[in-house]
């Protein structure tokens, strides 16, 4: 066995030596070839170093860009922060809803033709633009102001106290301007020039709300607006829409033209004027302002079927000495039976103390009904968009004869409303006025009303 291993070892050794002796000469590297390879390696090394340098350069540039980007970002963030301190960001919904400005209101154009006692040529008598500006400062505070810009027939004083017509006059009235503070769910406090809640007509008589173009005569017995303060609110009874409403106010009240408590006075043309001024005075010449209020009950038994009753009044001195009082009481009622039929009205009573004529009791009432022709569901043009209206109103004012007007008047007014859209109406009516002790009169009224 040992011999076999020895033999094998020598055989392998011999073969290996023979193999080495047989390597071809072409496998050998010459000096030229070595130098060429060495040069090639050097070139590659140089290229590698250049690449490394370029990478370092690019890395440095990238760092600078990132730094600049950071700086720009920081500047932009600072700018946004500063901007948000000035006004809310556009994508934040809550601040944007916290306040809002809204323009609402109405506009009217009127055409009239009068006959009888006030006979005159027919004319486009009046154009009225009555914007209402609303600004909600937050959920508790609302500013609201209503203006009335009207162009009407002009008048000119003639020799001898007569009045002539001349061109037109443009009036600009501040109907109301008030701040409302919603104190809680039951009480809102109002300050400023207010529409007074004497009855409901005042607060619901904008051109596109009233279906007959002029006011009931008895409304002239009342004050429409006043400067002062008011507390008002409502208490729901259950969740069916039934409620009790209430309002109480203090305002300057009626005033005296010539400061006395006499029933009448004279103007520069020696024409007789009423001495009591119901225009809503902004000065109070008496000891203290007047007070008033309304309490109402509204009962709907289903949508479009309801009844409303109200009682309101005002009292206060009207002469400068504060001795004579002007008192008013109004009962109002309204009923809706279906979306097609409504009736509403007011009874108005005033008692005016005077220094020369004693106590003057004045009164009047009006009742107005409307019936929408869409009730019949007729497939006819125009008719379904029409509402028939009718009003009866009367006034009995012993102070009227002082200025040449009849003491008692009553009026029948049939008319119709054509609804072009839900807020654009064409109103037409014919009025027949009967004056006790004076000539009767009549009038055609056509009005285009738009609520916006």
């Amino acid at each position: 066995m040992k011999n076999f291993i020895k033999r094998s070892f020598f055989a392998v050794l011999t073969l290996s030596f023979a193999g080495l002796c047989c390597i071809p000469s072409s496998w050998a590297v010459t000096d030229e070839q070595f130098l060429a390879l060495q040069k090639e390696v050097q070139v590659l090394e140089q290229e590698h170093q250049q690449d490394q340098a370029e990478i370092q350069n690019l890395k440095a540039q990238q760092g600078q860009v990132e730094q600049k980007t950071e700086e720009i970002k920081k500047t932009a963030d600072q700018a946004v922060e500063k901007a948000s301190m000035v006004q809310p960001s556009a994508n934040v919904k809550v601040p944007a809803e916290n306040h809002s400005f809204v323009l609402a209101g109405d506009a009217e154009v009127q055409y009239t033709q009068t006959g009888g006692a006030n006979k005159a040529h027919s004319s486009y008598r009046m154009a009225d633009f009555a914007p209402v500006f609303l600004y909600r400062a937050n959920d508790k505070v609302l500013f609201e102001a209503g203006f009335d810009t009207t162009i009407d027939n002009g008048t000119v004083a003639l020799n001898g106290g007569a009045t002539g017509a001349s061109g037109s006059t443009t009036s600009f009235d501040l109907t109301f301007a008030q701040i409302d503070y919603l104190f809680n769910d039951y009480l809102t406090v109002i300050g400023g020039k207010m529409i007074l809640p004497l009855g409901t007509y005042n607060e619901r008589s904008a051109g596109w709300l009233n279906k007959i173009a002029d006011d009931p005569m008895a409304r002239s017995l009342l004050i429409s607006q006043g400067v002062g303060v008011q507390a008002r609110g409502a208490k729901a009874i259950g969740e069916s829409g039934q409620m009790v409403t209430y309002s109480a106010y203090s305002t300057n009240g009626a005033g005296a033209v010539d400061v006395t408590g006499n029933a009448s006075t004279l103007d520069v043309n020696v024409a007789t004027l009423r001495n009591i001024d119901l225009g809503g005075n902004v000065t109070n010449m008496h000891k203290r302002p007047s007070e008033g209020g309304r309490i109402g009950w509204f009962f709907p038994w289903k949508p479009h079927y309801d009844v409303e009753l109200g009682l309101s009044g005002q009292t206060g001195a009207w002469d400068s000495a504060g001795k004579e009082t002007w008192n008013a009481g109004v009962i109002d009622a309204a009923i809706h039976v279906s979306p097609y039929f409504e009736t509403k009205g007011e009874y108005i009573y005033t008692r005016t103390g005077t220094a020369d004529l004693g106590t003057i009791d004045s009164s009047g009432w009006w009742l107005q009904s409307g019936f929408k022709m869409s009730y019949f569901n007729w497939d006819l043009p125009l008719i379904p968009s029409t509402e028939l209206v009718f009003r009866y109103d009367t006034i009995n004012d012993p102070l009227n004869p002082l200025t040449g007007a009849a003491q008692k008047s009553y009026r029948y007014t049939p008319g119709l409303v054509y609804y072009i859209t839900n807020s654009l109406w064409l109103e037409g009516s014919y009025e027949k006025i009967y004056n006790k002790g004076a000539q009767d009169a009549n009038q055609w009224l056509l009005q285009l009303s738009y609520g916006f």
Binding site: A96, E97, S100, V102, A104, L134, Y135, R136, D139, L142, E144, D180, L182, F183, D185, Y186, L187, T188, I190, E203, R204, W208, L209, A231, R232, G233, A234, K235, A236, I237, G238, E239, S240, G241, Q242, M243, V244, T245, Y246, A248, E291, G292, G293, I295, G296, P300, P303, H304, D306, E308, T315, E324, T325, N327, H336, E342, R351, Y419, N422, S423
Partner: protein, 98 residues
């Protein structure tokens, strides 16, 4: 005419103020007097028909934005003496349908 004759009127004026203030404290007897069994709950759409159409034609909810409706309903809450809870339901209806 003596102003003292109108004392009763001034008394009513004071009662109205007191009525509102008591209502704010949530202890108004009137609310408790309403029988629960006869209560019908009206939603915003029905309340809109109940309160708005009694004075004017109903306006389309699409006529105004949410923020504008919020202002207008606040105005009407004051002008028409709407209970705030009902005004909120009407506003919700207007917002959901504009």
């Amino acid at each position: 005419m003596k102003q003292s004759k109108w004392f009763l009127f001034r008394f009513i004026f004071a009662v109205i103020i007191g009525f509102a203030m008591i209502g704010g404290s949530g202890s108004l007897v009137l609310a408790d007097a309403a029988p629960q069994k006869s209560v019908k709950k009206l939603d915003g759409e029905q309340l809109y028909a109940v309160h708005c159409s009694r004075c004017h034609s109903e306006r389309y909810p699409t006529e105004r934005t949410d923020a504008q409706w919020k202002t207008i309903i606040m105005h009407m809450q004051v002008r028409a003496n709407l209970p705030p809870e009902q005004a909120r339901k009407i506003l919700k209806y207007m917002k959901e349908n504009n």
